[in-house]
């Protein structure tokens, strides 16, 4: 392993900025977050970076390492340094920059507010009885640590900036976890089709590739949700019935 590496970190704010180079002394097991913190401690304490747990559990230290959306605390420097020992660290591109590696992810918190919470019939006996096999698939979705790397890589949000039309993979996963809850009684299909915009996803699976929790976002959440919506809105028999009855929805 190299004794020193070079981190090229994006320094700047909403008004623009540029990469700056820093030499970093390595140690066994060093991750990119360690390297950034070492620079903070020894060279420039004003580098803005978000981090909390340094154990890949809180999802705070999201960034783009060599252009790849990653958690800095889970990315070992030896895996990312190129032949010259250089690693490039930039902020998430999909969200407005606050400073250096810190972006304004508040849009995500606004979307979360729009999703109706779990709603269980008052007639359901307490305590709940649910089988492991019935909760397992939503437990996968609940592993999400809200690092928003999936939101960062999503073409709809990143390249087309359609934050007005699509909630993004993180919230497809969230809606799926509620929709597939054995006791939830909310019909989430209208929201999915309209404001949440599940139709925008064109299943490139980029989100799935970057998920540090290895959630099968596209296969297990988005595609089943698309099918749920299609069942109602694009089933020719139902469409005919709807027309005959003059009703919207199912």
């Amino acid at each position: 392993m190299r004794r020193t590496i070079t981190l090229k970190i994006y320094r700047g704010d909403a008004n623009g900025g540029e990469e700056k180079s820093y030499e970093v002394e390595t140690f066994p097991g060093m991750v990119v977050l360690d390297a950034v913190r070492q620079i903070q401690e020894r060279q420039d304490s004003s580098i803005a970076v978000r981090w909390n747990c340094k154990a890949a559990k809180c999802g705070s230290c999201s960034a783009e390492i060599n252009g790849l959306p990653r958690l800095m605390c889970k990315s070992r420097v030896e895996d990312y340094a190129d032949e010259n020992g250089v690693i490039r660290v930039h902020p998430l591109k999909t969200f407005p920059l606050i400073k250096d590696l810190v972006t304004d992810v508040s849009w995500n918190y606004e979307k979360a507010k729009q999703i109706p919470p779990l709603t269980v019939s008052p007639d359901t006996p307490r305590p709940f009885r649910m089988q492991q096999m019935d909760v397992e698939r939503l437990q996968q979705f609940r592993m999400c640590i809200e690092c928003f790397l999936c939101q960062d890589v999503c073409h709809v949000l990143r390249d087309h900036n359609r934050k007005d039309g699509y909630f993004g993979p993180r919230f497809m996963v969230k809606i799926a976890s509620l929709d597939m809850h054995p006791l939830d009684i909310v019909d989430r299909r209208v929201q999915l089709r309209n404001e949440a915009g599940v139709g925008y996803c064109n299943i490139t699976k980029c989100c799935e590739e970057v998920c540090p929790e290895h959630i099968h976002i596209t296969d297990d959440a988005i595609i089943p949700l698309k099918e749920r919506v299609a069942d109602v809105y694009f089933d020719p028999v139902r469409a005919l019935l709807r027309r005959l009855r003059g009703k919207k929805g199912a």
Binding site: G29, M30, E41, D44, A55, K57, S60, K74, R142
Partner: protein, 602 residues
């Protein structure tokens, strides 16, 4: 002075981990306005790190569990320093709080009957850790976060409170800064709930995140509140030790609950060494490896393995093994769960598998882990009333890890997640009830200006001290002098160093501006860390006995006199004043839950 925003809420909750969020739910459900301040983004608080589960005697596993047994386990685990009334409320209300969480949307692992599955853990007589794999904390915080968001609070993310504002005796507001802009911000409130977590960052090797800098305890202390049992800092027996970058990272007790065994470099399961078995637990644990192995499949007829003794006991044993030259390659011991098979391990301990694979290049389904005690939790903190979580200062409430009274000298694993539910709720209700009878008060400009000057000093200070360097030296000093094995000599040297660093901290200088500047943030955090450290060390010097997390090599035994005393710390000018207060007596109905010998040997 520059202008700044001032917000007004009936109740201000500082901290948005489990305790803060649960408190906010109570405030909002009481129909009051609630502001939630969090140092990070919402949902990132230290609660996400909790792994094993939430202890509550639901009795879903066919064992005769009850609140009484949970009460007894918690009192014994805490070596009788806890407030019995606090523990009684806790043990009685924990099951209800867990079930409520399920109704908010938490999805726990299930038993074959479809109920919440409960796992065994250190110091708990029966299986009672309600869990979701090994990521129970994440489930808990996300569930509470969703519930809070549905009740429409105002959340101030990335906002740091550095001083409580008082009017006379009473707390009427708070002051601090927004991280992003660096602008000052003030809050007027009728009541304030502190739910800021612990202070594990004072140590070099810690399982705590950067936020654990002791803000809540210091805000309360500065406001005149009593701190209690500050010497009680928990060392979790199993932290990662290799590679150096991840040293201190937690390895959940769930590994041992699910059959993981501890071995030294001779391959011996050293926890079977009778020398490590405390009197209180004699006869309650398996005495042979065969019996321990049978327990895995038949928990009713066999006793549990001694790896599941309380954390203070296992930590000391590991310390002694390493000291005696029986340690692993990198100076720890081996924790091995390979015998349980890859499928089982990946299903029950998915984040441990991932953590070791990604960060340590160790496949825990094939190789043992290397572990050593790591700083994990602070039992001491702000003295709080059991019923309402009121502190000794009017208008100020405290819940969760920053409060004291439930865990005594040693916390049992799993009790913290239910602590934050039970007392988060009670603190929210206590603060709401108080707020309904109180009025808003104007914020005293002099207090605000004094704090603003403290905050801005590092930019204009001509000194050359770096906040990071002082943090590093503090962590080394605490690791050296106030760690698992303590002596008068080591503690005194540590105190000297802490006081010296406090002096040096007067000369901290930082560059740059106030716009998201971590160097500047650290300059303020370190003041709290230094004062908290001083109090920890002074209390550890004061308690001349060994009890729970406080292990004094020069006073190796329990002292029945000290069994009846809590140590309180108060601010007196710049000095720390210590006094003792009697541990509240157990009423008859609670004392009757113990045999006489246990009480006599406390």
């Amino acid at each position: 002075m520059e202008s700044f925003e001032t917000f007004e809420h009936d109740v201000l909750v500082i901290g948005a981990g489990g305790a803060g969020l649960r408190a906010a739910i109570s405030v909002l459900e009481a129909g009051l306005s609630c502001g939630i301040v969090c140092k990070s983004l919402l949902g990132k608080a230290h609660t996400v790190m909790a792994e094993g589960g939430a202890a509550a005697a639901l009795g879903n596993m066919g064992e005769p569990d009850s609140w009484e047994v949970h009460f007894r386990d918690t009192m014994i685990g805490g070596q009788f320093l806890a407030n019995p009334r606090t523990v009684e409320i806790f043990a009685k209300e924990a099951p209800e709080r867990v079930l409520e969480l399920e109704q908010y949307g938490a999805v726990f692992d299930r038993t074959p009957e479809g109920l919440i599955s409960e796992r065994p853990f250190g110091g708990h007589t029966y299986r009672r850790l309600n869990h979701v794999g090994d990521r129970t904390g994440l489930e808990l915080i996300r569930t509470l976060q969703d519930k809070v968001v549905s009740l429409n609070p105002t959340v101030y993310m990335e906002t740091t409170i550095t001083r409580l504002i008082k009017e006379g005796d009473r707390v009427v507001g708070a002051f601090g800064y927004r991280r992003g802009s660096g602008r000052f911000v003030a809050f007027r409130a009728k009541a304030v709930v502190l739910a800021t977590g612990g202070w594990g960052r004072m140590y070099k090797y810690t399982s705590n995140s950067w936020e654990s800098t002791g803000d809540g305890a210091m805000l309360a202390y500065e406001a005149g509140a009593a701190l209690q049992d500050m010497e009680m800092v928990q060392f979790h027996p199993t932290g990662m030790i290799w590679p150096p970058g991840v040293r201190g990272l937690l390895v959940t007790e769930g590994v041992r609950g699910d059959g993981g065994v501890l071995r030294n470099n001779r391959g011996e399961r050293f926890m079977f060494n009778p020398e490590y078995m405390p009197d209180n637990y004699k006869g309650k644990f398996a005495e042979t490896e065969e019996e321990a192995a049978k327990w895995l499949d038949d928990k009713k007829n066999y006793r549990r393995p001694p790896e599941l003794l309380p954390r203070d006991v296992v930590s000391r044993a590991i310390y002694k093994e390493v000291l005696a030259g029986r340690g692993s390659e990198h100076g720890g011991v081996y924790l091995d769960i390979t015998h349980r098979g890859a499928d089982f391990i990946k299903r029950r301990l998915p984040s441990m598998y991932e953590q070791f694979m990604a960060l340590g290049e160790v496949d825990i389904t094939k190789q043992p882990m290397e572990v050593y005690p790591t700083i994990h939790y602070t039992m001491g903190g702000i003295r709080a009333e059991p019923e309402t979580c009121a502190t000794t200062v009017p208008g100020l409430f405290a819940a969760g890890e920053c409060a004291a009274g439930l865990h005594g000298a040693n916390r049992l694993g799993g009790n913290s997640l239910t602590d934050i539910l039970v007392f988060g709720k009670r603190a929210g209700e206590g603060a709401a009830a108080y707020a309904k009878t109180a009025s808003f008060a104007p914020l005293d400009q002099a207090q605000i200006e004094a704090e603003a000057a403290v905050l801005l000093d590092p930019f204009i200070n001509p000194g050359r001290e770096s906040p990071y360097e002082i943090t590093r030296e503090l962590q080394e000093a605490m690791q050296e002098g106030a760690m698992i094995a303590r002596t008068e000599e080591g503690l005194t040297a540590c105190l000297q160093k802490v006081l010296e660093l406090q002096e040096r901290a007067r000369n901290i200088h930082v560059e740059g501006d106030r716009h998201y500047n971590p160097g500047w943030h650290t300059a303020r955090d370190i003041r709290f860390m230094l004062k908290t450290s001083e109090i920890i060390v002074r209390c550890a010097l004061e308690r001349k006995e060994s009890r729970g997390a406080q292990w004094r090599l020069d006073y190796p035994n329990k002292d029945p006199e000290w069994a009846r005393k809590n140590i309180l710390a108060f601010k007196e000018g710049d000095a720390v004043r210590l006094e003792t207060a009697p541990v509240p007596e157990m009423p008859e109905h609670l004392a009757a839950l113990f045999d006489e010998e246990t009480l006599r040997k406390r």
